[in-house]
């Protein structure tokens, strides 16, 4: 079965760029998108999707990434789900806060798409592991 990657991000441009880069990794997976923290949480809580990896934007209006992450970690059924915190910020404090809240990893939204692709591939290697079918 195709693994699912869930992108939770309120910025449509970033969602589009992430999907573009993901598609260029040449790996086999499905992507789902939630354009707000609340929508993303509803998706996974409702059991409609069971992503192998969540790419969670840190800064969102309403519930931000840290809050969503805490709720995921507090939910027994979801607590072991790998969540990668994604952000424009390269402030160390943000990274520390994300790791402290239980993020599996931290992904910086690089402006240079080639760099971003390399970072994304590292994340996929680590968190999708053998579930990924190489083309």
């Amino acid at each position: 079965m195709q693994p699912t990657i869930l992108i939770i991000d309120d910025n449509e441009d970033d969602v589009l760029l992430t999907k573009l880069v993901l598609s260029k990794t040449g790996r086999d997976f499905r992507t789902e998108v939630a354009l707000s923290g609340e929508a993303g949480l509803a998706l996974i809580r409702g059991g409609k999707t069971s992503p192998k990896l969540i790419l969670l934007d840190l800064k969102m209006p309403g519930m931000d990434g840290i809050e969503i992450l805490r709720k995921i970690r507090d939910d027994e059924r979801l607590s072991s789900m790998p969540v990668v915190m994604v952000t424009h910020s390269d402030l160390q404090s943000d990274e520390q806060a994300a790791i402290k809240a239980g993020a599996a990893s931290f992904l910086h939204k690089e402006t240079d798409l080639d760099q971003f692709k390399r970072d994304v591939e590292r994340i996929l290697d680590r968190w999708l592991g053998t579930h990924v079918l190489h083309q």
Partner: protein, 513 residues
């Protein structure tokens, strides 16, 4: 006439006298005042003299009560109780106020008179002087001086009077008057006028006032620095005129009172100033905290909010180039190239501003840092980035300093990066990092033989967004040297630059830590 030979501590005088007077009276007539606390009835025992030769009357009843057999054996008698009839030689014992100094030499307390006169008094004075400098309140000063005066001198009471600076009202603010005396009652019109005179003239005055018994009262100006707002009153139930030497002592004590009042006032002012300064520091700290919070918000905005739209521009133009290049003609591709260049430049600026904000905010963690090694690492990176360039990098060995390593890396990256950049048109380029003597002592320097600059612009180099070259000549953000300055200043050091157009530039810096 029989003669009384008086041997003093410093000289000897011969005084002719008519029988019928006491030694004390004979001495007083000659201006030699022995101490007395009882107005000559032999009760106080202060007016000791030593009879050396000649006939004297037998000890009086009062002398027997006052002096011990041993003292009689030594020839000691009370001057007020001995009425000589024939030639007599005596030696003065303390306390004696003879050969008085003039009142005009105010504060000129005759130390020899103390040393040779009354060791107890001398000791008391020394104690007073030592003690008074430690007194913390005005009340203590008045209490101690009053006690000192009434204990060691033939004085019965003291009072301090102050004239209000604004209203000129005169009031007693401290007194050691006997209970029976109504404090305000002694301030008659006449006394007030006298106090005003003393305050105006700065000279002492003496007057018998009624308190309510007649009291020989000395009015002494208490000068606090250049101001005189206080008068010290010293009252004596004995209304005899007082010897000048005693007045001199009083003046000295009044001087001490003034100096001490002044000191206490100054301390009060200082404490006020200190409290005010502390308040100011608190306010400034609060302001700074606000500014810091704003800076943090700013740097977050720079880091996050500005980057998001930038990423859209840069990311999608990259995607356009990668996926749709074949659908664009040469002009379209040129536009796209320009959009991407603009995006890159904007990212550089954002990164530079973020670095500047970090240099301003982050805590300084001082450790010993091997600057030579840092410089070598940075130089290696520069070489790797542009291996084709012919650059001679001269990095002095063994340079280290106590500083924040992370910030120092940023500073050296900027300085060596600048040198690298501005020698771009030189071959061979020579870039040097070392330590040299400067006006500010030993200073680190980064020197290059690049484009250089006109020395009259040296000051502008360290201001934000100020650039001496166009983007086409040399790329840059105009923030790098500001960041360097911020980092050096945060280490308590100084940074400056020297240059010559076409010859090169040298940036010097010290680390004050």
């Amino acid at each position: 006439m029989p003669k009384l030979t008086v041997i003093g501590s410093e000289n000897t005088r011969v005084l002719p006298f008519s029988p019928g007077s006491s030694i004390r009276e004979i001495l007083a007539a000659a201006g030699i005042h022995v101490r007395t606390g009882c107005r000559g009835n032999g009760a106080c025992g202060f007016c000791l003299v030593q009879v050396e030769e000649g006939h004297v009357n037998d000890p009086t009843e009062n002398e027997r009560l006052t002096l011990s057999p041993e003292q009689f054996d030594q020839g000691l008698r009370l001057a007020c109780q001995v009425m000589p009839v024939k030639d007599l030689r005596i030696r003065l014992r303390y306390p004696v106020w003879g050969e008085p100094a003039s009142v005009e030499s105010q504060g000129g307390w005759n130390m020899s008179g103390v040393r040779y006169g009354n060791p107890l008094l001398f000791e008391a004075f020394v104690k007073l002087a030592q003690y008074i400098v430690r007194l913390k309140t005005q009340q203590d000063v008045w209490d101690n001086l009053g006690k000192f005066i009434t204990t060691h001198f033939p004085a019965d009471w003291t009072a301090f009077v102050r004239r209000d600076v604004l209203s000129s009202a005169i009031s007693i603010h401290h007194s050691m008057l006997p209970d029976a005396i109504a404090v305000e009652r002694i301030l008659t019109e006449e006394v007030r006028a006298l106090i005003s005179d003393v305050l105006e003239s700065g000279f002492l005055a003496s007057r018998v006032i009624f308190a309510p018994e007649p009291s020989m009262t000395i009015f002494l100006p208490v000068a606090e620095g250049s101001r005189t707002e206080q008068v010290m009153l010293i009252g004596h139930k004995a209304v005899d005129p007082l010897p000048n030497a005693l007045l001199n002592i009083y003046l000295t004590v009044a001087g001490l009172a003034g100096a001490t009042s002044e000191r206490l006032l100054n301390e009060l002012e200082l404490n006020k100033d200190r409290a005010h300064l502390e308040e100011l520091v608190k306010e400034r700290t609060a302001e700074l905290t606000t500014v810091n919070t704003e800076l943090e918000a700013f740097s977050y905005a720079v880091s996050h909010d500005l980057r998001a739209p930038l990423r859209s521009i840069a990311g999608f133009s990259q995607a356009l180039r990668d996926e749709y290049a074949e659908k664009l003609d040469a002009t379209g591709k040129d536009y796209l190239r320009r959009i991407m260049a603009g995006g890159r430049r904007m990212e550089e600026l954002i990164n530079a501003l973020l670095e500047l904000s970090r240099a301003s905010r982050s805590d300084i963690k001082s450790v010993r840092v091997d600057l030579s090694a840092l410089a070598r690492n940075i130089a290696d990176e520069l070489r790797i980035a542009e291996p084709e360039r012919n650059v001679e990098l001269v990095i002095a060995g063994g340079l280290s300093a106590i500083c924040d390593e992370r910030l120092m890396i940023i500073a050296l990256e900027n300085l060596l990066g600048n040198a690298w950049k501005f020698t771009g048109k030189r071959s061979p380029a020579i870039i040097e990092f070392g330590l040299s003597d400067s006006e500010c002592g030993p200073a680190f320097f980064v020197k290059d033989n690049g484009a250089g600059f006109d020395n009259k612009h040296a000051g502008k180099l360290f201001t934000t967004f100020h650039r001496l070259h166009t983007q086409e000549e040399f790329s840059g953000t105009g923030v790098g040297l500001v960041t360097v300055k911020r980092i050096i200043h945060r280490h308590g050091g100084a940074v400056w630059a020297e240059g010559e157009v076409g010859k090169g530039a040298t940036v010097y810096f010290t680390l004050g830590v």
